[in-house]
Symmetry: C2
C-alpha cells in the first residue's frame, strides 16, 4: 500500500519509467543502453536512510532480493551492483544494476561516472515488460 501523501521524487519521476508497485516499493527502470538498471523506492514519506524504515527494512530486503533475481534472469548478467546513495536525491531509493564483465566500465561502479547512453526505446520497453512480468506486476497508471 502506498502511504498517504507519498509521491516519487521529481528527479526519479523524470529519469525513470515505472515498472510497477511491490508491497513496499515502487519499481522503476532507467533507460541505460549499457547497464540494465532498476530503482526501488519505498512508498513511505520522509524516509532518507535505510535505518529510517524501521520494521519495513526486512520487506525492502525481500524486494531487493526478488528484483535482483528477476533482473539477473532477464539480462543474464554476471554480477549485480546494489546501492543506496542518495547524495543528490534524498528520497531513499535503491539502485540494482546488472553488470557484465565486458561492459564499458567493468569492474568500476557505474555511479557518479557519466550520464546514461540512452538505449533503443523498443528494446527498453521490452526490458520493462519482461521485468514487470517477472515481478508479477501490473503497470503503474
Amino acid at each position: 500500500m502506498t502511504e498517504d501523501g507519498w509521491s516519487l521524487h521529481p528527479q526519479l519521476e523524470n529519469d525513470t519509467v515505472p515498472v510497477g508497485d511491490l508491497a513496499l516499493c515502487r519499481v522503476a527502470a532507467l533507460n541505460d543502453a549499457d547497464y540494465p538498471w532498476l530503482i526501488l523506492v519505498p512508498r513511505r514519506t520522509g524516509i532518507i536512510e535505510i535505518a529510517d524504515l524501521g520494521g519495513n527494512a526486512a520487506q525492502l530486503m525481500d524486494e531487493i532480493s526478488l528484483a535482483s533475481r528477476i533482473l539477473k534472469g532477464v539480462t543474464g548478467c554476471d554480477k549485480l551492483n546494489i546501492a543506496a546513495i542518495g547524495n543528490i536525491v534524498p528520497q531513499l531509493h535503491v539502485h540494482i544494476v546488472a553488470r557484465r564483465t565486458d561492459d564499458p566500465l567493468w569492474p568500476k561502479p557505474v555511479w557518479g561516472v557519466a550520464s546514461p547512453r540512452v538505449g533503443n526505446p523498443a528494446a527498453f520497453a521490452r526490458f520493462v515488460a519482461e521485468v514487470r512480468d517477472g515481478l508479477g506486476l501490473a503497470a503503474v497508471r
Copy 2:
C-alpha cells in the same frame, strides 16, 4: 555463528581491521581519513549476491540498519552511502560509508575513485573502538 570453512576474503583481510562479529556478519573497518567506512561480510561460504543469502537476508538488513545507526552516531555524518558491489572481491560484502556535505568527493560516490588517504592510526583505533562499543561487540581475536 560462523559457518564451518568460512574465512574473510584475503583482500578484505588485508584492507581492513576487524571490529567484531554480529550474529551474521563480520564487521570490518577501513582506515580512510576522509570517509569513515565499515564493511559487513556475512560469515557464510559461497555467497556472492544478496539474493544468495535466502533466509539470512533479513538478518543482513537488520545488521546494516544497526551498523548504519552506530556509524551515524559515532561520526555525526550527513548521509550514509551503502552498497554491495563485489566486482573485484566476489565474497558478498556491504560497504557502509559516512559522508559529509563538505567531504572531498561530495556528492559523488566514493567507490572506484581513488585509494584511501590513510588516517592517523590513533584516530582510527579510537574510531574502531567507538564503533565496537556502539555495536556492543568484543574484539575479534
